[in-house]
């Protein structure tokens, strides 16, 4: 990724404190040396860390001093995963498996959404909540947002309604436009993040390390799709509804005060499965597969249908494609 000059970069000291150490260029181009780590390195010997650790009871010194996810050795990774499982056990009294399975070589995920099929039933929204251990209420967090739009206006956000209520869908004269993380190839959120808590994986999934995120919400303001969601309170997730099959970069329960997002159900797709929203959609409007496989459903969509990306003019180059099958 090359730094994009058109995006604002917070570097001067009078800007709001986006990074723990002001004055550090938050955009690292090469190997990771995040501002947070640099801060910790200088502060580790001093009292700053002790002060930090004592002021918020949830912070664990070991978590704080650990390396960036991408720099962890297999042994360190194992420990980190075991720790998440232990935390799950304490918080929910339930055994969970947390994987950190990496991308498969030769795979680049693509997602297709057939706007001529979607009926706006929101089944996908709730399947996602369930699969990905989102907070149910207070805060209510939905990674998928289904917009109702007027056929008359076409894809036009000025006329979109996220809060439509109806006894039956689709409603006459309306069509539906679900929006979730578009897994951009040129992701503004990644560039905006001062701590490199978020990045794009080899297979195209934009992930967040929830232990690394400082909740500054720079990524949220950078995302043109509203696809990142900040949890203001500890996610409200009943233990009996906890999905125990988790991925470190995906659906593990989030702590309070981090930004969350869709990861194409990383815990499922890296095992070869379809995402939860694909499986639940009653009309088959959602398509998923490997863009590098000419036989995949997503490639057939790309080759035979009218395909477009949302907010193309922003050059985010999504890996999420909308199409009209008819």
């Amino acid at each position: 990724m090359t730094p994009n000059k058109s995006l604002p970069v917070v570097t001067d000291a009078d800007a709001p404190p986006a990074s723990p150490r002001d004055g550090v260029d938050p955009i690292g181009d090469g190997p990771l040396d995040p501002a947070r780590r640099a801060f910790l390195r200088t502060a580790a010997a001093g009292t700053a860390v002790a002060a930090l650790a004592s002021c918020s009871s949830g912070v664990d010194m070991e978590d704080f001093l650990r390396k960036h996810f991408k720099e962890l050795s297999p042994d360190e990774l194992k420990k980190v995963l075991a720790k998440v499982e232990k935390r799950n056990q304490e918080r929910f009294g339930k055994k969970t498996t947390v994987s950190a399975k990496g991308p498969q070589p030769g795979v680049e995920y693509g997602y297709g959404l057939d706007i001529s099929r979607c009926v706006g039933c929101r089944r996908c929204v709730y399947a996602c909540v369930k699969e990905n251990n989102q907070s149910r209420t207070e805060p209510q967090i939905h990674w998928i947002q289904v917009l109702e739009m007027d056929k008359e206006h076409g894809v036009d956000l000025a006329h979109a309604d996220l809060y439509y209520e109806a006894d039956a869908v689709p409603r006459p004269g309306k069509f539906y436009f679900p929006v979730q993380c578009q897994q951009c190839r040129n992701p503004p959120c990644v560039k905006a993040c001062p701590t490199q808590a978020t990045w794009k994986e080899q297979d195209g999934i934009v992930v967040i390390d929830y232990d690394w995120c400082i909740g500054c919400r720079c990524c949220m303001s950078a995302c043109p799709y509203g696809a990142r969601h900040f949890n203001w309170a500890t996610p409200n997730l009943p233990a009996e509804e906890l999905n125990p099959d988790q991925h470190y970069l995906g659906n593990r329960p989030r702590p309070k005060g981090v930004v969350e997002k869709c990861t194409f159900c990383i815990q499922r797709v890296r095992e070869g499965r379809y995402t939860a929203c694909v499986e639940v959609c009653p009309v088959g409007a959602r398509k998923f597969g490997n863009l590098l496989d000419p036989e995949s459903e997503i490639r057939k969509v790309m080759e035979t249908k009218r395909v477009f990306v949302f907010k193309e003019e922003l050059a985010t180059h999504p890996q999420f494609y909308y199409f009209y099958a008819t």
Binding site: G120, P139, V169, V269, R273, P282, G284, T304, A325
Partner: protein
């Protein structure tokens, strides 16, 4: 359920079909389709994804085999009102001006369907019948662009039949429901439109 599907007979055929890749079967079902070049397959190391046909929605009780009643009845191919099959006739909305029962059901053998050229088709391959008119949808369905698939994006997946989502007697899509029939889970079309799940909370309704 407004329409009917075979019970035990169909289950046996479905089970037999399940081991054959649907892709290959669908391709062979379309006479015009160019067979896939084997060379193209050889370049891909992984095996071709296995397609498994979903359980077809069940027939209404006591309807199949049709021959149970029709065997003893005189064969009458004249287009007319059918009193007994009123539950189908009352909802029939599939080009009703041009079409009636025997355009799809076989007069000689009531337990099969028939193509426009007169060839019999088992109920389990009804997509061949649908594909005669809806060629574009059929082509899309065969490659997974139309219709729904569940399972693995790079491996075994279950595909649904036309009749899992569309009632052939009233095919406009309204909604689908999951049903369990004979201990097996399947999906069947509904005759009422879906109600959406609750809307998200507005920001002002969320406690912070």
């Amino acid at each position: 359920m407004g329409y009917v599907r075979p019970r035990m007979g169909a289950l046996a055929v479905v089970a037999a079909l399940a081991v054959v890749p649907g892709w290959a079967r669908a391709a062979e079902a379309a006479p015009g389709a160019t067979p896939k070049a084997p060379a193209a397959k050889a370049t891909r190391p992984e095996a071709k994804p296995v397609l498994v046909q979903a359980e077809a929605p069940p027939f209404s009780e006591g309807i199949y085999p049709c021959s149970a009643c029709h065997a003893g009845m005189p064969k009458n191919g004249t287009r007319r009102e059918l009193v007994f099959h009123d539950e189908q006739q009352s909802i029939f909305d599939h080009g009703a001006d041009q079409r009636w029962c025997l355009d799809c059901h076989d007069l000689q053998n009531r337990d099969v369907l028939r193509l426009a050229n007169g060839a019999p088709v088992p109920f389990t391959e009804s997509y061949r019948l649908c594909g005669q008119c809806h060629g574009d949808k059929y082509r899309d369905w065969r490659v997974g662009v139309h219709g729904k698939r569940v399972g693995h994006w790079n491996g075994e997946k279950t595909y649904f039949l036309c009749v899992n989502c569309h009632n052939p007697h009233s095919p406009r899509f309204k909604g689908v429901q999951e049903i369990v029939s004979g201990g097996k889970k399947t999906v069947a079309p509904t005759l009422t439109y879906l109600k959406p799940e609750p809307r998200p909370k507005r920001p002002e309704e969320q406690r912070r």
